[in-house]
């Protein structure tokens, strides 16, 4: 019956250039229910929610709010229509109090010009008490604990009297005790008839608070069932079930038993603690874990971007200290960063200049000046490397005119120029946002680097299938450290690994 749902979607589809992020999703939330969304990283949950909340507009399909079709141009449109979203990143003004943050933009006024602080405080307090939250409203939010800040965010979302509340991993950074308060708040919100969409990676809490569960995989909704009818293993099977045989190259060569890199109990004093693993020449080691589980942070430590507080790192048996990326590179440890635009590419440099930057010293001629002809020749040689298969028209072309996959290849190629000095190459999410054909080329390139050139390759990814597909060994990260290691032949299915990651 139309109108009996707080929110519905029909055939909702969102296409980004080269990627179908959300595909033909029919979905509904009842008033007064907690509806959890589950799925691996990149399965389309976040994009789906961003379409609901007006951050993105749907490519096809429609969204109905209380039975009426709506098209939100912005999150503000959605807010006015009764749909509030609380994002994973905090969006509070640190030096304002909780009450001031909650009422921001809608303060009660006095004499039509001044903010009526006491009335504003009163409004905020009413909302807080209604949902039974225990949080101080009169201190600056920067002085509050993360969970209290999270509650302030939810109260701010409730201030607009939404019919639907979207929570994107609200408990991701909370301690156990703080979660309980949050569950209590959500429970009270729901009892007022508000529909709640709850994204989480923690299966325990999903079973604890959700009435129904919808599972996404590769942008498609694969199941919606009552939480009572599902169990942990069924959920994991829904999240991962896929055919992985053709996409990945054959892994034949066995890595040697020589220890290239040995890491023992290293910590960065913040996000990484007590990590130990080793890497042999010719070996691809996959790092799998959720975002924030410490895999990227360990890569940054190994590359000298963050400090090593304790533990030892040995390269070919000799202990090394890496205090800057420059030192890491001298030791032959290279990193291809996750955020290509921010940490990798130079927008004002052309293709040639982007490729040669780490090896520019080789083209210094008379008077210490760059020999442009030698530089262009070397850049062309790197770009035409047959294993790389870079598609370009002119070695001087602007970097923005290349596709995402080719930009990724540039970042790898930059280090290929120093291949003879290389020992370890770390690739952080090298296939993110890249179409399937180029992904395949990158997998083959990584195997080549290991098998043919005898490098140690560390491959970081949130996509479990590809980690399993190309790695000789998989290290599973959780809460800042490696919790389990699997050899290739020990892996029977994805569930085995997911159990350790969640």
């Amino acid at each position: 019956m139309p109108g009996s749902f707080a929110l519905e979607t029909h055939h909702l589809t969102k296409v980004f250039p080269g990627v179908v992020a959300v595909s033909d999703v029919d979905f509904a939330v009842r008033p007064g229910e907690v509806h959890a969304l589950l799925g691996e990283n990149g399965a389309g949950k976040s994009t789906f929610c961003k379409v609901l909340s007006g951050v993105h507009q749907p490519t096809h399909g429609e969204v109905l709010l209380q039975g009426k079709p709506v098209l939100f141009r912005s999150p503000h449109d959605a807010l006015l229509a009764g749909l509030s979203m609380v994002y994973q990143e905090r969006n509070l003004i640190p030096f304002l109090t909780g009450a001031q943050n909650i009422c921001l933009g809608k303060e009660k006024s006095r004499y039509r010009a001044l903010i009526h602080e006491s009335k504003t405080r009163k409004t905020a307090r009413e909302i807080r008490d209604r949902v039974g939250a225990q949080v101080a409203l009169d201190v600056e939010v920067e002085a509050l604990r993360p969970s209290e800040q999270q509650v302030i965010e939810i109260l701010r979302a409730l201030f607009h009297e939404p019919r639907l509340l979207l929570l994107d991993e609200p408990t991701a950074s909370l301690t156990h005790r703080d979660m309980e308060m949050l569950y209590e708040v959500i429970h009270n919100v729901v009892s007022e008839g508000v529909g709640v969409i709850f994204i989480s990676h923690k299966l325990e809490e999903v079973f604890k608070i959700a009435d129904r569960i919808t599972i996404f995989r590769d942008g498609v909704r694969v199941a919606t069932e009552a939480a009572a009818d599902l169990d942990r293993d069924t959920c994991i099977r829904y999240m991962t079930n896929r055919d992985i045989t053709e996409l990945y190259p054959d892994v034949q060569a066995k890595p040697t038993n020589v220890r290239l890199l040995e890491v023992e109990d290293v910590s960065d004093g913040d996000k990484v603690h007590d990590v130990s693993f080793s890497l042999s020449p010719g070996e691809v080691v996959g790092f799998y874990g959720l975002v924030g589980s410490g895999r990227t942070e360990l890569a940054e430590l190994l590359f000298g971007l963050s400090p090593q507080i304790s533990g030892t790192i040995r390269l070919r048996g000799t202990e090394i200290r890496i205090q800057s990326p420059g030192q890491a590179i001298e030791h032959g440890i290279f990193l291809v960063p996750e955020d290509r635009a921010r940490h990798g590419l130079f927008p004002s440099f052309n293709l040639k200049e982007n490729l040669t930057l780490p090896v520019i010293s080789r083209f210094i001629g008379k008077l210490g000046l760059i020999d442009h002809r030698a530089e262009a020749a070397a850049a062309t040689r790197i770009a035409d490397d047959e294993e790389l298969r870079l598609v370009y028209t002119d070695i001087q072309q602007a970097i923005d005119s290349l596709s995402g996959g080719n930009k990724q290849k540039i970042l790898i190629a930059r280090w290929l120029a120093k291949r003879e000095e290389a020992a370890v190459i770390i690739l952080d999410e090298p296939t993110q946002g890249i179409d399937i054909g180029v992904k395949h080329e990158i997998y083959e390139l990584l195997r080549q680097l290991a098998e043919k050139h005898q490098l140690g390759v560390i491959f970081i990814s949130s996509e479990l299938a590809e980690v399993i597909g190309i790695s000789d060994r998989v290290c599973v990260f959780r809460d800042g450290t490696i919790v389990k290691e699997f050899r290739r032949e020990e892996i029977e299915n994805q569930e085995q690994i997911l159990r350790w990651a969640f």
Binding site: L305, P325, P337, F346, I360, G368
Partner: protein, 315 residues
Amino acid sequence: MFLVKYGLLFAAILIWIVFAILQHRFYSPINIFSIIRQASIIGILGLGLGGIVINGDFDMSFAANTSLVGVIAITLMMNEANPVLIFFVGLAIGTAVGAVNSLLVVRARIPAFIATMGMMIFLQGIAKYVTGGAEIYPIHVPMFYKLFGSSYTFGVIPNAVFTFAIIGAAAVLFYGYSKRGRYMYATGGNPDAARHVGLNVRFNRTLAFILGGFLSGVAGLLLISMLRAANPTIGQGYLFPTVITVFLGSLFLKGGVVNAPGIILSAVFMASLSNGFTMIGLPFYAKDIAQGLILVIALLGICVLGRRPMRDIKL
């Protein structure tokens, strides 16, 4: 895009033709050299500021630095100090100011605009203290300085032009063709990515501030050699023309990326404009109106026609 790339050169040629038609003396060798002489101070300061901007920073204090170097050099001349010593003292002061700026901005991470603004006010105060606020001039200017800044070779070429030419050539090679220059562009273009390829971002930024300070010292010495006198605001008038020169010059060849040939051409262009306006007898305010308009129109050209945001210029 061709129009944008060479627009500044076309504009320069255009004004040279217009001025030559309106005033036949515009093309006399003496006037041409006089234009280059005028351009030399802005050009040298611009090449220093340009390096700082290439690294993604900014410097407000370079003109005040020039003033301070000028008044101290003249004061030393009045006390009949050794001319060579004066020269080195001047360069040392300029360089030291650049080094302090780098400590404030690169090490202590104060926003460059504000830190160097503070430095500017401070240096202006010191310059006023040194002179007592007045115009000062030595009875006797050492021969060295006459040769450096105010004499003419073969009776027509002002010697100041040589200093500008040498620094200009060095800057073109350094910024455009050396390894360190490339690293500086990388630093300003994307500091995070520069770190990821192992560049020492702090070193590059520090070096640019120090070079900028050194060139302010050179400009200060050249300026007092031309004028044979100094006052506490002798350099301050060059602040905005130099800033305009650097950004106008960024439009030449590289469409919004600061570069040495652009700065040199744009310094000559600005000097031609000011010289030409005086020679054809336009009112005193015409120059300001023209300079402001030219800068804004040129930037419009880049941002609208070029369809390319000026990413490397963060001000």
